[in-house]
């Protein structure tokens, strides 16, 4: 069943067309990867779905509701959770307080002036941290965590809003290869168990072909191919798009780290 429907999205910056006629769907529980060479318009499309950019034209429909012009805050309330290319957490707070903050906001308690924030929804927050394997680090400040762990906390924050759709912008950028596979395995299992649709951009082809149910390829702002990882790997047009790195889409030799 369709969760996210993107129809004919268009965006130009000055004279440069960053996205043109981009349409695709994400189903519940599906992991859809958005790939393309640098400058293909991945981030533009991604930020139009996330609300950080305004679309010039087109429609973004989440679960039957038009969110094309909604602010990021409103999209969050409609069920969009997201992580950022460079992990965004609250560095002055503990890991658990980060998740508590998201829970507080989700339940519209952020104007509370009396009950201390650290007493609010702590159990639920620790539970979310446990799901991403970070329960032991609950009381460690985010500024003292390793980057891979910060990414996990960020995932827990995104999950706190009980999203229907999870947006992950280059979720494994800046992580070690082993951590990458672990984070994506974790994301896939959470998405499957909660029936969350996941849209992610990624440069690491191992991650893309190891974890995506479907792949969408952008080139110069347009969708040039969409399909299962195997279909994409065989697509002649996609191969041309990655010309200069002809083997970019082949399975790596040797044992698969995923």
């Amino acid at each position: 069943m369709t969760l996210l429907a993107v129809k004919d999205l268009q965006k130009t910056f000055g004279g440069v067309v960053a996205a043109r006629g981009v349409s695709f769907d994400v189903a519940r529980g599906e992991m859809l990867a958005l790939i393309g060479p640098n400058g293909a318009g991945k981030s533009t499309v991604f930020n139009m779905v996330g609300g950080q950019l305004r679309a010039d034209h087109g429609q973004v429909v989440l679960d039957g509701q038009d969110i094309t012009h909604a602010a990021p805050q409103k999209r969050f309330r409609r069920g969009v959770g997201r992580t950022f290319q460079v992990a965004q957490t609250f560095l002055s707070m503990n890991a658990v307080e980060n998740v508590q903050m998201a829970l507080i906001s989700c339940r519209r308690r952020s104007h509370g002036l009396w009950t201390p924030a650290r007493e609010r929804y702590r159990e639920k927050a620790v539970e979310l941290l446990a799901q991403v394997g970070m329960a032991e680090a609950a009381d460690i400040p985010c500024s003292a965590l390793a980057y891979g762990d910060v990414k996990r906390v960020e995932l827990a924050i995104a999950l706190a809003g009980e999203p229907k759709l999870l947006l992950m912008d280059e979720p494994t950028a800046g992580m070690a290869p082993r951590e990458r596979a672990e984070l994506m395995d974790l994301t896939a299992s959470i998405a499957a168990s909660r029936d969350i649709g996941v849209l992610f951009t990624e440069h690491d082809m191992d991650v893309v072909f190891g974890h995506a149910d479907r792949v969408l390829v952008l080139l110069r702002g347009q969708v040039i191919a969409a399909g299962t990882p195997d279909e994409i790997r065989r697509d002649a047009q996609v191969r041309r798009a990655y010309l200069g790195d002809e083997h970019a889409l082949e399975r790596p030799k040797g044992p698969d780290p995923a």
Partner: protein
């Protein structure tokens, strides 16, 4: 209206625009390259005026003529440029990476130091400079006399603009300055000698400030108030033009010059208000001025309170504090009680600022506005409606909260240095109103006869009242800082993108923070008015805002108790050091600079850090 009058008025507007542009141009170039808003730019302007007013007459004695005069002006500007180099090497170089609040405070420290040094070097008297040889006779403009020196000034602005343009476009140094203004990191990674570039920029900036000051000597005598009056106007010009943009500064100076020249006809008493209102309107429409660009806010800009484990036994600590406060009158005499009352009031004032800066990351540089609004609100209630203290205090608080709501609505759209400048401008508008609306506010003399109710009029009673209200307000604010609201403010400070992505309405939270903080500062202001029996415009001045910031800095911006410790420390320093020296500003300025350079955690912050290191 008489056309000749309009022409003369427009011409004098042009000449003040020229002077303003020359000075502001230096400020905006320095900001563009170093990203430091140099408060001391006005001091350099003042040094330029004093130097020229002293140097030029000597040169004219040696050989009377235009050559000596203009050579003296240029020499003064060069001397100021060299002073700029000294400031860069000794101070600015060490704070390029510091949070902007520290940069503003450190350069304000230089302002204080220079104020005393100028009196030491040039003496306390104003110095009237000579008139320019060859330009003494007025010229005839449509039948009206107009000073010919002003015509030279009108030409000087475009000439300086042209020369600066040539320098920036046609020289290697200028290319580097433009490159650094666009992307400082990129220039650094290209292997450019940054130290030389920054020192050169400071020389150019200081030279222009000195030139601006030196050119004033035939019009106004060099005086010790020049620095703050010009810096306020230069800030407006750079902010309206867009920080870092030279053409922007020129355009803004033109607009402001004309606005002042003709504003005086429409609102004879409120030229200051008109200028700052222009800034408010421009920033409301274009948050980065005419030609400015969005600031890239780096991680270094957020210093503030972080989460800590609740202190063990904090209930007992609180009880001990209450006991000490309550028992203090048993051992203290009337003078000590007066001092303690003032410390408590300023502790509350500084603490209210901590909610904005330490928690929200909102560097408010005009917090005196809310303190002053509270004080004036209470005083006006007493004077005009004969309100009792019990009614006047809440009225003052409400007045300040209302003002904070109004100012906050404007500034929450801004960020970083623009927010600091806008809050400063807002405070200056209110200062100007209090200063110039003599019929209502009593002008410079202020309002007297603001006495507490009889039951609270003794030193002991008023001390206890202040202690109780301060304690209650501080505990309430502390509670709010720990509550979801305070956490939401911190969340928006740490990462706006993340805060939005979890559905927090950042502007609304920040606006409410302004109101809460303003209300607390207003309570402090009201208490202060009744403790002294009077109010005057200085309560709204820049130095009151800086006092609050200094207390925060002394105590430690990263701690909740910091402002309370800082208020006590600053008062202690004042009471101990001020009687010993005639150069209090020099001492205070050096203390502020030293704090920024070697002790940025502040007193409470250092103790807390030490405790955590041990744990």
């Amino acid at each position: 209206m008489d056309p000749s009058f309009l022409a003369v008025q427009a011409l004098s507007g042009l000449s003040s625009a020229s002077s303003l542009f020359i000075t502001a141009c230096g400020l905006t170039i320095v900001f563009g390259v170093t990203r430091i808003v140099n408060f001391a730019h006005g001091s350099l302007y003042m040094i330029g005026a004093y130097t020229a007013a002293t140097l030029v007459p000597r040169l004219l004695e040696l050989s009377f003529g235009p050559v000596s005069f203009w050579a003296g002006i240029l020499a003064s500007a060069v001397i100021v440029g060299l002073i700029g180099i000294i400031i860069e090497v000794l101070l600015l170089r060490r704070i390029y990476g510091a949070p902007e609040l520290f940069q503003l405070l450190a350069t304000f420290g230089v302002v204080l130091v220079v104020q005393d040094l100028v009196v030491l070097v040039f003496g306390p008297e104003d110095i009237l400079g000579p008139r320019a040889p060859g330009l003494r006779a007025p010229v005839d403009i449509l039948g009206r006399r107009f000073p010919s020196y002003e015509l030279v000034l009108i030409a000087a602005g475009p000439v300086v603009l042209g020369l600066v343009w040539l320098l920036l476009r046609r020289t290697r140094f200028g290319m580097l300055v433009r490159a650094a203004t666009q992307d400082r990191d990129m220039v650094a990674s290209l292997g450019v000698n940054q130290a030389m570039l920054f020192t050169g920029t400071l020389f150019l900036g200081a030279f222009l400030a000195g030139l601006g000051g030196a050119l004033q000597i035939p019009r106004v005598s060099a005086n010790t108030g020049m620095d703050l009056s010009i810096i306020a106007e230069a800030f407006v010009v750079t902010v309206v033009g867009g920080m870092g943009s030279v053409p922007g500064a020129f355009l803004a100076a033109l607009v402001i010059g004309q606005l002042q020249a003709f504003g005086i006809l429409i609102f004879p008493k409120s030229t200051l208000v008109v200028v700052f209102l222009l800034m408010a309107v421009v920033l409301a429409v274009r948050p980065y001025g005419f030609f400015g660009r969005a600031e890239v806010v780096g991680a270094t800009h957020t210093v503030g309170i972080a989460s800590h484990k609740p202190l063990p036994g904090r209930v007992y600590i609180l009880l001990a504090v209450v006991a000490v406060l309550a028992c203090f009158p048993l051992v203290a005499d009337a003078y000590l009680l007066k001092v303690a009352t003032e410390i408590l009031i300023f502790a509350l004032f500084a603490f209210s600022l901590q909610l904005l800066i330490g928690v929200g990351g909102l560097v408010s540089f005009g917090h005196a506005a809310f303190f002053g609004l509270g004080a004036y609100g209470s005083a006006l209630a007493v004077k005009w409606s004969g309100a009792s203290m019990e009614a006047a205090l809440p009225l003052g608080l409400a007045f300040a909260a209302l003002g904070a709501g109004l100012i906050g609505a404007f500034v929450v759209r801004l960020s970083g240095i623009y927010l600091a400048m806008m809050t400063l401008a807002a405070a200056q508008i209110i200062y100007a109103v209090a200063f110039q609306w003599v019929d209502v506010t009593g002008g410079d003399n202020g309002i007297v006869g603001v006495w507490p109710a009889t039951w609270a009029s003794g030193p002991v009673a008023y001390y206890l009242l202040t202690a109780a209200l301060t304690l209650a307000a501080v505990l309430l604010l502390k509670r709010i800082i720990d509550a979801p609201f305070g956490y939401a403010l911190r969340a928006a400070r740490d990462s706006e993108a993340r805060a939005e992505a979890i559905g927090l309405t950042i502007r609304l939270h920040r606006w409410l923070a302004f109101i809460l903080s303003g209300a607390a500062a207003g309570l402090a202001g009201g208490l202060y008015a009744f403790s002294r029996g009077s109010v005057d415009p200085s309560l709204l001045g820049i130095s009151t805002s800086v006092d609050a910031l200094t207390m925060l800095l002394l105590g430690g911006i990263q701690t909740v108790t910091g402002p309370l410790v800082g208020a006590a420390a600053l008062h202690f320093l004042r009471d101990v050091v001020m009687p010993l020296t005639a150069h209090w500003r020099l001492v205070l300025g050096l203390i502020i600079i030293a704090m920024v350079l070697i002790f940025p955690r502040g007193l409470a912050g250092t103790v807390q850090h030490w405790r955590e290191e041990r744990a």
